[in-house]
C-alpha cells in the first residue's frame, strides 16, 4: 500500500462512523480554539508593546539608580544603618511605598566616570501648575517624567533636543485644540507660558517653545520637557528654600553614544553594576511588564493544552473502538499481505487526520471570532490605545497550534494503532 493510498484510506475510514468522529473532533476543536485564542492574545499584546517600544524607547538613554540592598530575610523592621538608611526617596518601581537610596554628588560623578557615559542628569520631578497659549485660558499641565528616556511618535514637529539651551516642550495631541491651536502643525514653533509655584507658594511663569506634537502612547500621555526647561522649572519650584537645603534624587538619566551597539550598552550596564548602580533602558523596564504578560498567557495556554490532552484521550477511545470494530477487516488485510507497519500507519494517519480536522476548524473559528472581538474592542473600549489589536494571529503561531494538536493526536493514536498492528490475522478472522 503506498503512502497516498494509506492517507486516502485513513481519511475515508475517519468518516465511517460520523457521529463518533464528530464528537471527538468537537473535543479537539474546543482545545485548539482556546489555544489559538490565548496565543493570539499573547501575540496581540506583545506585538503592541513591541511596536510601542520600538517607537518610544530610546536605546541610548539609561535610568540609573543606586543598587538596592537585598530584601531582608529577617522579619520585622531592619536595623538602622546610617549609610544605607540616609536620604531614601520614594520610587515608582516595586510595590507602592518602596524607597531607594538617593544618589549623592559623589555617586553622580562616579556614574559620569564610567566609560561610555556621555552625560548624567539627576532625574528631577517638576510639577507645573498650568499651561497657557496666548490668552486662550489656563489648563493643567501633566508632565511625562519619562520624556527624556523616550522618543514618542510625533503628529507634527520634531523630538526634544536635550542639549538645546532654549526651553522646549512637546505637547500631546489632546492639548492642541484646548490651548487654542488650529492644528497640530499650527502649534509647532509657538511659545507657551507655564506657571509653577515655589516652596513659598509664589507663582512663577516660564515660557517655552512647542517643538513637536506627540501621539498618545502606552507610556505616559503627559507633555515632554527638555533638559533646559526641566532645570528652569526645577529652579523656580525650589525658590525660597532655605540656603543649603539639598534636593534628594533617586535616579539619574544617563546618555550614551546613540550609535552604541547592544554589546556596548551591555558592557556599560555591567560597569555601572560593578560600581554599585543599577542601569536600565526603557525596554528593560518594560521587559518586566512583558514577562508578566507572557506568564499570564502561558497559564492560559496551559489550560488549553490540558483540554487538548483530554481530547487526546477521546482520540484513543475512538480509535480503540474502531480497531475493535474492524478486527476482521484488519485480519483480512494482513492475510492479504498488508504489513504490520502499514496497519500502524493507517491508524496513526487516522488519528492525525482527526487531530487536523479539529485543530483546523478550531483555528479557523478562533481567528474569525478573535478578529471580530478584537476589532470591536479596538473601536470601542480600547480606542484610547491606537494600534492595539488585543488578539492577533501570525501564520506561524496558527501553524504551530495545528502541528501541536496533530502531534498530540499522533501520540494518542499510537496505542490503538499498535493494537491493530499487533493483531494476528488468524485470530482476527476468527473474531466474532
Amino acid at each position: 500500500m503506498n503512502v497516498f493510498s494509506i492517507i486516502a484510506t485513513a481519511i475515508k475510514n475517519t468518516f465511517r462512523n460520523k457521529l463518533r468522529t464528530t464528537l471527538t473532533v468537537i473535543a479537539i476543536f474546543i482545545g485548539a480554539f482556546t489555544l489559538t485564542l490565548t496565543s493570539g492574545i499573547g501575540t496581540g499584546v506583545n506585538t503592541y508593546i513591541d511596536t510601542q517600544l520600538s517607537s518610544v524607547g530610546a536605546k541610548d538613554v539609561l535610568t540609573v539608580t543606586k543598587k538596592a540592598p537585598a530584601f531582608s530575610t529577617v522579619s520585622g523592621p531592619a536595623k538602622y544603618d546610617p549609610e544605607a538608611s540616609k536620604g531614601r526617596v520614594a520610587t515608582t518601581q516595586g510595590p507602592p511605598g518602596s524607597t531607594i537610596p538617593s544618589l549623592s554628588a559623589a555617586d553622580l560623578s562616579a556614574i559620569a566616570g564610567v566609560k561610555g557615559v556621555i552625560s548624567v542628569d539627576p532625574t528631577v520631578t517638576v510639577s507645573p501648575d498650568y499651561i497657557e497659549y496666548a490668552t486662550n485660558g489656563k489648563y493643567q499641565l501633566a508632565v511625562n517624567n519619562f520624556a527624556s528616556v523616550t522618543k514618542p511618535p510625533l503628529a507634527a514637529g520634531a523630538q526634544l533636543d536635550y542639549q538645546a539651551s532654549a526651553n522646549q516642550i512637546v505637547l500631546p495631541t489632546d492639548y492642541i485644540s484646548s490651548l487654542g491651536f488650529t492644528s497640530d502643525a499650527d502649534a509647532v514653533g509657538k511659545t507657551v507660558s507655564i506657571g509653577i509655584s515655589d516652596v513659598t507658594g509664589v507663582q512663577h511663569v516660564v515660557t517655552a517653545t512647542v517643538v513637536g506634537v506627540q501621539e498618545q502612547t502606552l507610556f505616559g500621555g503627559g507633555a515632554g520637557l527638555n533638559r533646559q526647561l526641566t532645570s528652569e522649572l526645577n529652579t523656580a519650584q525650589h525658590l525660597g528654600q532655605a540656603a543649603g537645603a539639598v534636593q534628594l534624587v533617586g535616579s539619574s538619566t544617563v546618555r550614551v553614544d546613540p550609535n552604541a551597539t547592544e554589546a556596548q550598552i551591555t558592557l556599560i550596564k555591567s560597569d555601572l553594576d560593578a560600581a554599585g548602580f543599577t542601569a536600565r533602558t526603557v525596554s528593560d523596564q518594560i521587559g518586566t511588564f512583558k514577562t508578566v504578560i507572557d506568564g499570564i498567557v502561558a497559564v492560559l495556554n496551559a489550560f488549553a493544552i490540558i483540554a487538548l490532552i483530554a481530547a487526546g484521550f477521546g482520540i484513543i477511545n475512538t480509535l480503540l473502538m474502531s480497531v475493535q470494530e474492524r478486527t476482521r477487516e484488519i485480519g483480512l488485510m494482513k492475510a492479504m499481505g498488508l504489513s504490520s507497519g502499514r496497519i500502524f500507519g493507517l491508524f496513526s494517519t487516522e488519528a492525525v487526520f482527526i487531530g487536523f480536522l479539529g485543530s483546523a476548524m478550531g483555528c479557523a473559528v478562533a481567528i474569525g471570532a478573535g478578529t471580530a472581538v478584537s476589532n470591536a474592542l479596538a473601536n470601542g473600549p480600547l480606542s484610547g490605545l491606537p494600534g492595539l489589536q488585543l488578539v492577533s494571529f501570525t501564520p506561524l503561531a496558527v501553524a504551530n497550534v495545528i502541528l501541536l494538536v496533530m502531534a498530540i493526536a499522533l501520540v494518542a493514536g499510537t496505542l490503538p494503532a499498535y493494537r491493530a498492528a499487533r493483531q494476528d490475522p488468524i485470530e482476527s478472522l476468527r473474531y466474532e
Partner: protein
C-alpha cells in the same frame, strides 16, 4: 506438520502430524468433520500461521525463511482467499472491496479500477460495482469475494467452505466458477469443505479426523 494451540493443561493438538503435497494446477479438497483441523491446515498452507513442528515448503524453499516483506508480498501476489464468512468491508462499494488486494500491492488508482472492473465482468457483477457490498445477496457476496481473490491474478486460491453459506443452486454456481478458474486458468485450488459432493469434483481429496490424515484419495 503438527499444530498445537495453548500451553500446559490448556494445550490442544489441532493437527497431530499431517504430511501432504500439493502440485501446481491441482484442485485439492480438504474434507473432515467440524473441529477436525481443516481450517488449521489451510492456514498453515496459506502461510497465515506457522506449524508448531514440521515445515511448509513452497517451491522447494522452507516458508520459515520467508519473513516480513517477502512473506507479505507472496501472500499478496500469489494467494487468493475465499472465506466462509465473506469478510467484506461494510459501507464500501463492491468495486472498492474487490480492489483491496491491489491497493495493498501498491497499484495506482487507475489501474486498480480497470483491473477491478475486469474481474467484476468475469463474475458478471459489473452492474453491482457501485453498490454497497453489504446490500448484495449471499450468492452475489460470495462472487464478490471470489472476484477479490482473483484481482491479483493469484496462482493459488484457498477457499474455506466457499459454499457453506449458500443454497444448493447458488452454491453450484460458485463451484462452477471456482472449477473453471482451475481448469481454464490453471489456478491451483485448495478447498476446505465437509460437503462430499463438492469434494468429489476435486482432483484429490484429503480426509482428516481429529488432527490426523486418515486417507488421501485421488480421483
Amino acid at each position: 506438520m503438527k499444530k498445537s494451540y495453548g500451553t500446559g493443561a490448556n494445550r490442544f493438538d489441532a493437527l497431530k502430524g499431517v504430511s501432504l503435497d500439493v502440485r501446481q494446477g491441482e484442485s485439492v479438497a480438504i474434507v473432515g468433520k467440524s473441529g477436525s483441523g481443516k481450517s488449521t491446515l489451510m492456514h498453515l498452507l496459506a502461510l497465515l500461521d506457522e506449524p508448531s513442528s514440521g515445515q511448509v515448503m513452497i517451491e522447494d524453499k522452507d516458508a520459515k525463511t520467508l519473513k516480513g516483506k517477502r512473506l507479505n508480498s507472496l501472500r499478496n501476489a500469489a494467494f487468493g482467499f475465499v472465506f466462509q464468512q465473506f469478510f467484506l468491508t461494510p459501507g464500501a462499494s463492491v468495486l472498492e472491496n474487490v480492489i483491496l488486494p491491489l491497493k495493498i500491492a501498491g497499484m495506482g488508482a487507475k489501474d486498480r479500477r480497470a483491473r477491478g472492473m475486469e474481474v467484476l465482468a468475469q463474475l458478471e457483477l459489473v452492474d453491482k460495482a457501485k453498490n454497497r457490498a453489504t446490500d448484495l445477496s449471499g450468492g452475489q457476496k460470495q462472487r464478490v469475494v471470489i472476484a477479490r481473490a482473483l484481482a491479483n491474478r493469484p496462482r493459488v486460491i484457498f477457499a474455506d467452505e466457499p459454499t457453506g453459506n449458500l443454497d444448493t443452486a447458488t452454491g453450484a454456481v460458485v463451484e462452477d466458477i471456482l472449477f473453471s478458474l482451475n481448469r481454464d486458468d490453471g489456478i491451483t485450488l485448495i478447498v476446505v469443505t465437509h460437503d462430499e459432493e463438492l469434494a468429489a469434483k476435486c482432483d484429490r481429496r484429503i480426509y482428516i479426523r481429529d488432527g490426523l490424515l486418515v486417507e488421501a484419495v485421488a480421483a
